[in-house]
Symmetry: C2
Subunit: 256 residues, 2 copies
Amino acid sequence: MAKRTGVDEFKLIGLLWRDSPVSPRSGISTQSVTTLAVDLADREGLDAVTIRRLAEEAGVTAMALYPHIGGRAELVELMLDHVAGVTYETVTIPEGADWRECVTAIAEANWASCQAHPWITDLATGRPVPGPGASTKYETELRALDGIGLTDIEMEHTLTALLSLVQGTARATRAAQDSRLPGEDHDTDWWSNIEPALTTAIGDQTRFPTASRVSRTLGEQTGKANDPEGAYRRGVGLILDGIAKRLGTPTSGNGR
Amino acid sequence: MAKRTGVDEFKLIGLLWRDSPVSPRSGISTQSVTTLAVDLADREGLDAVTIRRLAEEAGVTAMALYPHIGGRAELVELMLDHVAGVTYETVTIPEGADWRECVTAIAEANWASCQAHPWITDLATGRPVPGPGASTKYETELRALDGIGLTDIEMEHTLTALLSLVQGTARATRAAQDSRLPGEDHDTDWWSNIEPALTTAIGDQTRFPTASRVSRTLGEQTGKANDPEGAYRRGVGLILDGIAKRLGTPTSGNGR
DNA sequence: TCCTCGAAGTCTACGGTGTATAATACACTG
DNA sequence: CAGTGTATTATACACCGTAGACTTCGAGGA
């Protein structure tokens, strides 16, 4: 459910770039099915998006979807492209602003997208989706980084690194949320459920002194068993300062 | 195949921390089955690790595995813990070295682990595996960061951010490799197969000028359609400089 | 208006998955 | 050596994606 394999790229490109006519008999279209699938995944996760279930929601039989979506592998790509296309509708990159604000906006937009559509963190990045949404997103992000003093290669690497960090920490957020049992409100509940059993199993309590100390401190100060969002913010901060050093511009603040 | 849901944590903890006796009738153990599963995943990917297939390799029936692995969800956790436990057997963190070398070694060890076991990048991080391997790894990494001038919280956030970056870019490497058709040697082959169809589909060639320029430059200079490894190296470099700024120590080199 | 014909939609079926359940056979303890 | 409990087995179920054959519909020409 995560590898994005088995995609027929040519079929996919056709589906991605055509203007998605609504089918007269059933009233569905590539566009409408994709939207339905994204909504379903947002609500119940990517695993809930089965062909049969999606067909049920669309009011058609399973096999009726195939002319519109290609196959399940292609459907996932369509969903990814759709989400990529709306990333900068909620969070926009300020025009003519400091490069710091632009980079931060890129991070925030992707972070928000990962929160709104947690299932995208299940899917591998790397191979780009050859569709209009992903292409527009890429263009937007590169344009924000263009002309601040980085070479093309540096821009590309920096952007990839930044997005990897965002996706990675967003994934961790998501995993922490998923592991909550129904009805639990805090991350600590999962941990406090596990902890007694774990303590018993470990036996020798002096085996992981540093980890114990750090976990305790983290729990006391943030109230969480782990804090991916904090890691995200710190990570972006570190990268910003790293870029500043490359650019040779004065760094902002004192880092605290 | 990516969400790590449905894990019975208590059953899992029992399996993770017991000393895995070999079963007299079948000759298998939690340990041996886990190793077998890791090898199989390394060779053929996580999807190849089905209960039936694994049972076949172990020389028993499918249902015979269950007392040793719990269920498939728990098996995956066992595999993750196993891999975590051997991360620092190949790449070690230098004793008493500069903090830069330590951080770099952490990144390299995790990068190498992701290369050796590509399937781990399919799986969500975040919720830690409550096992001896993962605990040891966490302890090792925190100890390397301890005492260089960061607070406990900063250490934790920095480590999480660093590992997210490594996993994220490693994933992208993996995705690029997977998308190669059989027999292809270079990333560019996949891209050059797609490109004509994509160019035709897009129509208006002036729509993504920055993306086109950057892609062209990247292709010319690296010979790749995308370069996650370069992004990894730059990302680690940026984070190192970011840490240096926080620490107030002189930065090394000029960043080029 | 009717007819034809190609495409869209449907039905059935296949091989795969994880694993619940119940029956069996074995290894260890007394 | 008998008893007991658990590892192991065989069977079965519900679900998955989708290939292939069949049916039905909508649009264009006479």
